[in-house]
Amino acid sequence: MADIADSERAARPAPRRLGGGWGRRLVVGVPTLWLALFFLLPFFIVLRISVLEMDGAQFTALFGRDADGQWQFNAHLQSYALLLQDSLYLSTYGSSLLYAAVTTLVCLLIGYPFAYFMARAAASLQPLLLMGVMLPFWTSFLLRVYAWKGLLDTQTGWVGTVLVDLGVDRVLYALGFIPAPGQLMYSPFSLVLGMVYTYLPFMVLPLYGTLSKMDLRLLEAAQDLGATAWQAFWRITVPLSRSGIVAGAMLVFIPCVGEYVIPELLGGPETLMIGRVLWDEFFANNDWPVASAVAVVMVLLILVPLVLLNKSQSGEGARA
């Protein structure tokens, strides 16, 4: 029987490979074109501006003829040199990465148990819980962030008054997260709170995806082999949800680094983030080359770890 099945398989023509065909080219081509038009092209425009100089209200030309009529390539790197010389930029990059990292960590700590219990809840309840996670998207992001201003007000906002009544503000002050007891707004605390609040669903959804797909018999197997529920969680559940953790962390970390609106509304003088610097360079200083250089470095700052991660994951994929 087995032999017959084998020879049948051999005789059957191999299924047509999903190569060639116009349909396939279209499906791959549209997103490629999209990325080329709306990411790559603008990126090169910004890159070009970043190596130019301001000549009054005009940019200097990248290519030009000198007095002898020879073609010249006029790339200037002083915008980048400025980024290195002025400690404002470096420290702002640093604090952006720090706030993004802290936000990601807090999102993971809140989001993991959240996603875990969602994935283990009764199957009939799960769509409802999923709905709950996505419900905030139905209201404008700007309004929701703005609402925190009112909520965190220690005189009138109920969250603020409750936190002060509980003495949480004194703890936060001791930890250096707020400038003074009784002032929750315009602080690292309110900034991170706002970013965690906004980006939590982006952590929960991929985690829920991997956790709900997990084969629960693996946990039984672990228990059967002597693992307590807690050991089974750390040895089996967490490693198997790695891809969800990585995806969630990326989805939170990357937009947080360049976040402009939340620091603007909820942050204070100490919480200068690179998005704000970018805005100021473009629209307050009108120094487009420096602004462009700031943007280019920010993209690279995010892109490099992303590429490395991608590489390690595809390596893992080849082995796994």
Binding site: A2, R217, L218, E220, D224, L225, I236, L240
Partner: protein, 362 residues
């Protein structure tokens, strides 16, 4: 309890019941399994065999009754504190761990020193001939190799009781036969007491020393494979294990049963009252087919061949008897021949020895 009784009842299941809400999955079953025995729970899906196995592993708690292992009541002990290991259906190997780490998982949970873990994992991998694959991940293995790793993992902790949940269910037919023998050899060499669950009667008969046939949460019959096959206790068991011809009749005379098409002469008088309705069961391989009426004291009936199924090594002929009843007979294909011994529409005599039938009252 004396040592010999403890050996005979190494695993003792005492009127165990399991209810899920209003549904009774396991209904007051009792069973003794001897030390070193391979015991099979056989039944179709939903008969309660898996629930019983899960109660032995500690994943389910009996609603009533007790489970004793080597004289110790297992009640209240979670799975990770039982000297019981299970080989899961389709294996449940940890996909993110290598073969070696899968086998080492249980030993590490026990906090054994590193050197001893390594020694025992290596010995286990050698036992199942998977030493060369120690660094592989489970998805890089074939089904048969995964099965061997799962076996090594469940034996690594030297459990007192090994549970096998459909051990060969995920393998294709040819591989299943080879693996069966290998699996039994390993279990016997280790000497571990083993309870397996299967819906495949061939698997149960080939591997187990005793079988319990289960239906609707109860044991219908417990016995050695040949007992269950040759002396089924009920119509259900006769029908569930192997193929069988069932004929309704009544006891008539000392050792005769009158059915619609044939009067069965028995080798000895059945322990059944005169005139009582019974069922006579005859296995197809016990029936011979002839063109002429056979001589001697063989039970015989004339029928018409309505169909046949060719299996290579044997052919199953379907006969229609005068009353319209059907009869299946297996004919071994002893000789190479171009065509079948009988064709559709042939009139043939089916006959069998007086001792070939089983008389069933239930």
């Amino acid at each position: 309890m004396s040592t010999s009784t403890q050996d005979r009842a190494f695993l003792r299941i005492e009127s165990v019941t399991k209810d899920f809400g209003g549904f009774r999955a396991v209904d007051q079953v009792s069973l003794d399994v001897a030390r070193g025995e391979i015991f099979a729970l056989l039944g179709s899906s939903g008969c309660g065999k898996s629930t019983l196995l899960r109660m032995l592993a500690g994943f389910e708690t009996p609603t009533a009754g007790r489970v004793l292992l080597d004289g110790v009541d297992l009640a209240g002990r979670p799975p990770y504190e039982r000297p019981v290991n299970m080989m899961f259906q389709s294996y449940a190997l940890f996909p993110h761990l290598s073969v070696w780490d899968n086998v080492a998982f249980g030993l590490r949970r026990d906090g054994l020193p590193k050197a001893e873990v390594a020694e025992r994992v290596d010995a286990m991998l050698k036992l199942v001939q998977m030493t060369d694959f120690a660094r592989r991940k489970p998805h890089q293995l074939s089904g048969g190799q995964q099965q061997r790793v799962a076996l090594a993992r469940s034996l690594a902790k030297r459990p007192q009781l090994l549970l096998l949940d459909e051990p060969l269910g995920a393998l294709d037919k040819k591989l299943r036969e080879e693996t069966q023998i290998e699996l039994v050899n390993i279990i016997r060499r280790i000497g571990v007491t083993c309870v397996m669950v299967t819906h495949d009667q061939e698997e149960a008969m080939m591997m187990a020393s005793r079988i319990a046939v289960m239906s609707q949460g109860r044991f219908l019959q417990i016995g050695a494979p040949h007992e269950v096959y040759e002396n089924p206790a009920t119509r259900f068991v006769a029908d569930f294990i192997g193929n069988v011809n069932l004929m309704d009749g009544t006891v008539d005379g000392a050792a005769e049963i009158r059915c619609a098409d044939v009067v069965h002469r028995l080798a000895e008088a059945p322990a059944v009252a005169q005139g009582q309705p019974v069922t006579v069961a005859v296995r197809p391989e016990k029936i011979r087919l002839d063109v002429q009426a056979p001589s001697g004291d063989r039970n015989q009936v004339k029928g018409v061949v309505t169909a046949f199924s060719y299996f290579g090594d044997h052919t199953v002929y379907h006969l229609e008897l005068p009353s319209g009843a059907r009869l299946k007979a297996n004919l071994e294909n002893e000789r190479r021949q171009g065509e079948q011994a009988f064709a559709q529409g042939d009139v043939v005599w089916a006959s069998w020895q007086p001792g070939a039938q089983v008389v069933l009252t239930e």
